[in-house]
């Protein structure tokens, strides 16, 4: 499969009070075009990811918003799949390239979340849960149910959850674009304010502003990272209809597709940016992606097997936890980060894992150095 990452760009992630949604899109689009050293008319189509710009910023019709940045106004579409919006926009772009309709496309995602207060943001985010069966729930609440089940079945501990946050905050210290540059110890995470038992404040990813963009092309480019596999799978919108509450089946199925396409095993992948919207989500991810057997993710994390220097480096960027989680941008910024590491020759293969809701949507990408 010939899909190359011709250009990549992430904005700083954080509480970007002086930047609007449009400012974020402009920065990401200009940034990726400059990085790719392309001329704007070479962009044949645009795929725009955002979870909830309508609710956060009173702005819909984002495809037109972004397309108008270009004099030639390329065809554009907006894709929404909750927190997996970015991953889905990549999938849509890849399908378009594989179909042969376009040769070079732009994928850009942004979320401007701090224009509303924390209560309203929580309410907006909860729209990704089932309004029929989970009305009134929050995502910390839903992931808390998953955490409780995992802890009950496999003995996953409070300390193991904390180890995810400690690692990701530490790793974010080396990422200048990360929202947080602050280290925490296990005790600080374990004693942070309770949000939804057993999840505490420092188990949760933050509310973030940010944007990220990639230019994907089916034209062969030397020394640029290549997408060698992708997968996309769904599960029930609500937790009640899941086959199990100790694995995210959509992640497993998306991973199987991506690995088959890439002709790789999980053991050959040494760098993974996974969807750690909550600490428990990273433990689920590293098990469902096949890096560790079911129930062993907490132990492996506490033992340092997912930290820099470990068996597989998970969320070297800081992940959603510390790099930040500007929702529509997240799936794309993961790919930007992995592509960056590959181009700097830090590893041979890298993986990204983007989840929507409590696991109803999952997107997995595998990239190689060339």
């Amino acid at each position: 499969m010939n899909i190359f990452v011709a250009g990549r760009y992430s904005t700083k992630v954080g509480e970007l009070w002086d930047l609007s949604l449009a400012d974020l899109f402009v920065e990401a689009v200009n940034g990726v075009i400059n990085q790719a050293e392309l001329e704007p008319p070479q962009i044949e189509a645009v795929f725009v990811a955002s979870k909830a710009a309508g609710e956060f910023n009173h702005q819909l019709h984002l495809n037109a918003l972004v397309s108008q940045f270009f004099k030639h106004q390329p065809p554009a579409m907006r894709i929404e799949g909750a927190c997996a919006s970015g991953g889905l926009a990549l999938i849509a772009a890849e399908q378009a390239l594989l179909s042969g309709q376009y040769k070079t496309v732009l994928v850009v995602g942004a979320e401007k979340m701090t224009d509303v207060g924390a209560n309203r943001a929580t309410e907006i985010l909860s729209m990704a849960a089932s309004d029929d069966l989970e009305r009134g729930s929050t995502f910390p609440g839903l992931y808390a149910l998953l955490a409780e089940r995992h802890m009950a079945e496999f003995g996953t501990t409070r300390e193991q959850l904390s180890a995810v946050a400690v690692k990701n905050h530490r790793q974010a210290l080396n990422n200048p674009l990360a929202q947080f540059h602050q280290e925490f110890n296990l005790e600080q995470v374990s004693c942070s304010p309770m949000i939804a038992s057993p999840l505490r404040l420092l188990d949760c990813s933050p509310i973030s502003d940010g944007a990220a963009a990639v230019i994907l092309t089916s034209k062969k480019i030397k020394n640029k990272p290549r997408i060698i596999g992708f997968g996309h799978a769904q599960d029930s919108l609500d937790l009640a209809h899941r086959r199990t509450l100790t694995e995210l089946v959509a992640t497993k199925r998306a991973t199987e597709q991506a690995l088959a396409m890439a002709k790789l095993t999980p053991q050959e992948i040494s760098l993974a940016e996974v969807h750690d919207c909550f600490t428990i989500a990273e433990i689920f991810a590293i098990e469902d992606l096949g890096f560790f057997k079911k129930g062993d993710g907490g132990r492996a994390t506490l033992a340092g097997e997912t930290a820099v220097g470990g068996k597989v480096v998970v969320n070297q960027s800081g992940g959603l936890k510390a790099f930040g989680h500007p929702i529509g941008a997240t799936g794309i910024k993961q790919l930007v980060y992995v592509a960056d590491q590959l181009e700097q020759d830090r590893c041979q293969y890298g993986l990204t894992h983007n989840v929507g809701g409590s696991g109803a949507t999952a997107v997995v990408h595998i990239l190689s150095k060339q």
């Binding site: 509480e15 009070w17 207060g117 309770m194």
Partner: protein, 356 residues
């Protein structure tokens, strides 16, 4: 702006309600871990106004103490010589009808009076102090009375509920027999909507974390840096610093960022025992410092008002302060010591009566 002529504080007074509620009571009712919010905000308890207390009564009580002290200090002082009065608050009892006229009448001030209520969130009180100093400097008033007072509103369950408190302080400005000279003052203002209450609304709304970096910190830092630049002073040349106290956390953080030590700041942190008294906050914090400072001490004060702006002042204490203080009763520390704790139920009843 550097002030070369003689102007400053002639007298001051404070007032706090009798009741206080520990934050633990509010934490319990809101289902929080006991001590979690209190530890984060660095506020132990907050004052609660009685059913018959409002900004007008607080202003009168604080101003009465200031008048008594001024009369005690000099027989030449007379309250009839006060010809300007500015009361800053965000809880004026009436939307239309001045608080100041009620206060002036209750205090028995002269009818020859330039007077207006001020509103600029938590810095309305200090803006009144700056205006009074200007009236004295221009010769428009021999004495000016500035009051910052509030009975702050917060919706039950909102983050504001943990700190919204009541209290106030009054300052008489003049040009002779000063207890603290005003050496410089500067203000900043930008359109930064971090906190607001529209007409007809009972409780204010706020922008959550937006009230931090782009609002409080930006404006407090900017006004303070301007004042330091204009006075060519370094933080280590200041004896006391006072920064607006929406909680105990923000002033500590901004003091550190600006290069001040906790020792310079600590005397002003009455917020820990009284909560956020809004327009009364910096006037009360300044009173706490003046209650302790010796002669010749430089006090840097920066108030913050949401919306947003900041007022910075540089005062220097005189021998009159120490001399007069010997006769004073009811220092702020005495008021803190006489606060009486109430339960959430009692607090809730008092609050309900206030709004319905």
């Amino acid at each position: 702006m550097i002030i070369k002529k003689s102007v400053g504080i002639v007298s001051y007074g404070t007032y706090l309600p009798h009741w206080a509620i520990a934050l633990g009571e509010i934490e319990q009712v809101n289902g929080k871990e006991i001590g979690a919010v209190s530890k984060s905000l660095r506020v132990e308890q907050k004052t609660v106004p009685a059913a018959d207390e409002d900004t007008a009564t607080i202003a009168v009580a604080a101003a009465q103490q200031a008048l008594e002290r001024a009369q005690q200090a000099s027989q030449r002082f007379s309250k009839s010589k006060i010809s300007s009065l500015f009361i800053g608050s965000e809880s004026h009892p009436y939307a239309v009808k001045p608080t100041g006229t009620m206060v002036a009448q209750a205090l028995g001030l002269s009818e020859e009076l330039a007077m207006a209520d001020l509103q600029f969130a938590c810095k309305a009180g200090t803006q009144g102090m700056q205006i009074c100093a200007s009236y004295v400097l221009s010769g428009f008033s021999e004495y000016g009375l500035a009051v910052g007072a509030d009975t702050a509103q917060a919706e039950p369950g909102d983050a504001l509920e943990y700190s919204a408190a009541a209290g106030g302080a009054a300052y008489i400005f003049g040009k002779n027999k000063l207890i603290a000279k005003l050496l410089a003052t500067v203000s900043v203002a930008t359109d930064t909507p971090d906190f607001w209450r529209r007409p007809g609304e009972v409780y204010p709304q706020h922008g959550g974390r937006f009230t931090g970096e782009p609002a409080y910190f930006y404006h407090v830092e900017q006004a303070t840096r301007l004042l330091l630049a204009q006075t060519k002073l370094r933080p280590d040349q200041i004896d006391y610093c006072i920064f607006h106290t929406p909680n105990g956390k923000f002033p500590r953080r901004v003091a550190k960022k600006l290069g001040f030590t906790q020792k310079q700041l600590s005397s002003s942190l009455v917020v820990e025992k009284i909560g956020n008294t809004y327009a009364g906050a910096v006037p009360l914090a300044l009173a706490s410092v003046l209650d302790q400072a010796s002669t010749g001490k430089k006090i840097l004060v920066t108030a913050y008002g949401s919306g947003a702006g900041a007022d910075s002042f540089l005062f220097e204490t005189t021998p009159n302060l120490v001399q007069q203080r010997k006769k004073w009763k009811n220092l702020l520390a005495d008021r803190l010591n006489s606060l009486e704790s109430i339960s959430y139920q009692e607090y809730s009843n008092l609050m309900k009566g206030r709004y319905h």
